[in-house]
């Protein structure tokens, strides 16, 4: 199977603390993957490296068919190349309407001068409305996103990610603070998205991971401890020792 993202032999230290230790990880172009691990296992640092926020001390991060190195790109270039990221805390632009948030995320030229003269066409507006329907915010388009509930903000952020049309979605704890119904809907959105692109979900909640029903990578102390189906990794002795057995 071809790979979309290949991380190999990556290490990074902060003041002597090895947050990521010789980590290798790869994901195909249409795959749903869950990453679990105890606090401090390096889950967020891993995402920081892929999105360009943190530069690793050593290792390679290769992207796409041309095997371009993500390490030489800026955050915005990586995002334009097709890596979308959802943060743990929902970060939407609270001062702006749901419509504006989605319109900003829509895949369009990102150059300042092109943005200056950009005026949405009716197709763009239809696309935003369609996205809003997908994430259940169609009735809230003109509201300021700061007024939305926590769960709605999470969805709005997922909607913004989908609008970017990324080839790889990195999703950090999407279910945090959601009600049961909201979680179910989030699962559906993520599963649907993974049919056309790669999706990596970092999650603490085992029940949520089980619902995703996908391959699981267990991180521990900055490297991969086990990989496989959820049932497979939960039977793994090491995993039970460091994570589940406590």
């Amino acid at each position: 199977m071809s790979t979309l993202l290949e991380v190999s032999g990556v290490s990074v230290s902060f003041d002597g603390f090895r947050a990521i230790n010789n980590l290798s990880f790869s994901i195909g172009p249409t795959e749903l993957r869950a990453i679990i691990g105890p606090n401090g296992a390096g889950k967020t640092t891993f995402m920081d490296i892929v999105t360009g926020k943190t530069k690793p001390d050593e290792g390679r991060v290769l992207w796409g068919d041309e095997n371009a190195s993500l390490l030489r790109m800026s955050e915005s270039r990586i995002a334009q190349a097709g890596v979308g990221r959802k943060f743990q805390r929902p970060t939407v632009f609270e001062d702006q309407s749901v419509f504006d948030n989605l319109m900003m995320a829509l895949k369009k030229p990102r150059n300042p001068f092109k943005v200056l003269v950009f005026r949405p066409t009716s197709e763009d507006e239809d696309r935003v409305v369609a996205l809003a329907e997908e994430i259940g915010l169609a009735a809230h388009l003109s509201r300021k996103s700061g007024e939305l509930s926590h769960g709605q903000k999470q969805w709005l952020e997922i909607g913004m990610l989908l609008a970017q049309e990324p080839r790889l979605l990195l999703v950090d704890e999407p279910a945090a603070g959601m009600t049961l119904a909201e979680r179910e809907h989030t699962t559906e959105i993520l599963k649907e998205a993974a049919k056309t692109r790669a999706v990596v979900v970092v999650e603490h909640d085992m029940e949520f991971v089980r619902r995703l029903d996908c391959k699981v990578t267990v991180l521990h102390e900055g490297s991969v401890l086990a990989e496989g189906s959820l049932d497979h990794v939960t039977k793994n002795k090491d995993v039970i020792d460091v994570y589940l057995g406590r």
Binding site: P120, A138, K144, H150, T179
Partner: protein, 449 residues
């Protein structure tokens, strides 16, 4: 409502709240339901009613001052006050620039008066050169031999630079003889300085208070450099006599002051429309996004540094144009004009007027600078307190500082926030907190009912 029905059917999990809303509110607030079409009425002016209102107010103001002026009308307003009003319009224009860069893009630049001053210097060089040239040519007209161009040039240089003990033109005056080039430099010099400074600062990801300090350092360094006699711009003497337009000696100042008022009003109107247009589209969304969460904008794929640089440079150019219109009305420019304190005043005006809305910046600049003129001009009556008499010339700055603190603490929206009360726009500021347990309900409406 077929569209809404389709939405609710597709999304069973939100249907209860949406149906409740649709059923319960019966036609109230249709803007919340129509989606994109209702959220976005077509047309720039339809989206930005404040632009037309502002243009109308500005036109009425300009017309009224013209009618009451000495130059063209009844003579009720003195020429010096017409100049004060014209200068105030220029200050409003630079305040718009400050609002764009600070209120919208979140870059607290405390150096925009450097660009303002540079614009003034650029036009001042031509004004001074050309007027001195006319005087020199005049004085040499009676000589037995017609003067050579070199003699004229030397005569001008001696006239202009005698005060700093020099008699040659420095290199920066190379184009001072040409009005078109100096007019181009009004835009190019501040723009280029902002481009280089901004590129260095933003590329290193200097943000927040550190960037503010850096911009203060820039304007201070520029002021100190210009204070030197060998800077080529007459040191602390600055450029003077700028109110006399070359070739128009016969025209009274009363008339020239009205012309400049018109020019300043036109520039302010155009600047307002430009600023409103820039922030009305997606670029406005992006720069407000940068203000609120820079990293998030970056992860959306926008090159944040490029956007900041664009806004920083654009506003520097606007500031330069404002300065070029201001100083011919003031008559003199010297390096004290671009001292760090001037840029801080600019931030105070915008904060008091209400940042993040363009008319707020205009109101703040006009209100505070006119009030400042009144207080420091000795027109304000002293306030006798029995044991101590408050003289406003001394106490005005204290009053200004106090009102700045009070506005920041108690009315962060500034004077412009009053318009929200009039137009019944309410922005519930709950920092995203829920009002009730029902996640899908319309908390904004609940709060107002």
């Amino acid at each position: 409502m077929p569209a809404d029905a389709a939405v609710t059917d597709k999304l069973p999990h939100v249907s209860s709240s949406v149906r409740k809303y649709l059923g319960g509110s019966g036609g109230q607030a249709p803007r919340d339901r129509g989606g994109a079409a209702a959220a976005r009425p077509r047309g720039f002016f339809a989206n930005n009613p404040s632009v037309l209102i502002f243009i109308a107010c500005l036109a009425v103001f300009t017309l009224a001052v013209t009618i009451l002026s000495e130059g063209l009308g009844l003579g009720i307003i003195s020429t010096s006050f017409v100049k004060t009003l014209g200068k105030t319009l220029c200050l409003c224009l630079v305040a718009i620039a400050m609002d764009l860069v600070w209120g919208y893009c979140g870059i607290l630049s405390l150096g925009h008066f450097a660009f303002f001053g540079l614009g003034g210097y650029m036009i001042g060089m031509w004004l001074m050169y050309e007027r001195t040239r006319l005087i020199v040519v005049d004085s040499l007209a009676n000589a037995p031999l017609p003067p050579t161009p070199d003699e004229v040039r030397d005569g001008i240089a001696t006239q202009i630079f005698g005060v700093v003990g020099a008699s040659d033109f420095p290199a920066v005056w190379a184009f001072a003889h040409s009005l078109p080039i100096q007019l181009a430099l009004v835009v190019i010099v501040p723009g280029l300085l902002a481009l280089v400074f901004g590129w260095l600062a933003f590329r290193s990801r200097v943000t927040g208070v550190y960037l503010s300090i850096l911009t203060q350092a820039m304007t201070l360094a520029l002021a100190l450099y210009l204070f030197q006699n060998d800077s080529g711009l007459r040191g602390n003497n600055g450029l003077s006599g700028l109110q006399n337009l070359p070739g128009l000696e016969a025209v009274p100042q009363a008339l020239i002051s009205v012309w400049f008022l018109w020019g300043s009003a036109l520039a302010l109107g155009l600047g307002y429309v430009l600023a409103a247009w820039v922030v009305s589209g997606k670029l406005g969304s992006v720069i407000r996004g940068i203000r609120d969460d820079e990293a998030r904008v970056r992860f959306l794929g926008y090159p944040v540094e490029g956007f900041k640089l664009f806004i920083f440079t654009l506003t520097a150019v606007i500031a330069g144009i404002a300065g070029a219109l201001y100083y011919p009305q003031a008559g003199i420019i010297n390096p004290a004009e671009i001292a760090p304190i001037a840029s801080i005043y600019l931030a105070v005006w915008v904060a008091i007027g209400g940042r993040g809305r363009i008319y707020g910046a205009v109101i703040g600049a006009a209100f505070v600078s006119l009030l400042s003129t009144w207080f420091t001009g000795g027109q304000a009556p002293d306030l006798p307190l029995g044991i101590y008499t408050v003289q406003w010339v001394d106490w005005w700055l204290v009053l200004l500082g106090l009102s700045f603190v009070l506005v920041t603490l108690f009315a962060p929206k500034g004077i412009g926030g009053l318009f929200d009360l009039v137009s019944h726009q309410r922005h519930p500021d709950r920092h995203g907190a829920d009002l009730g347990p029902d996640m899908g309900s319309y908390r904004e409406q609940e709060a107002q009912e």
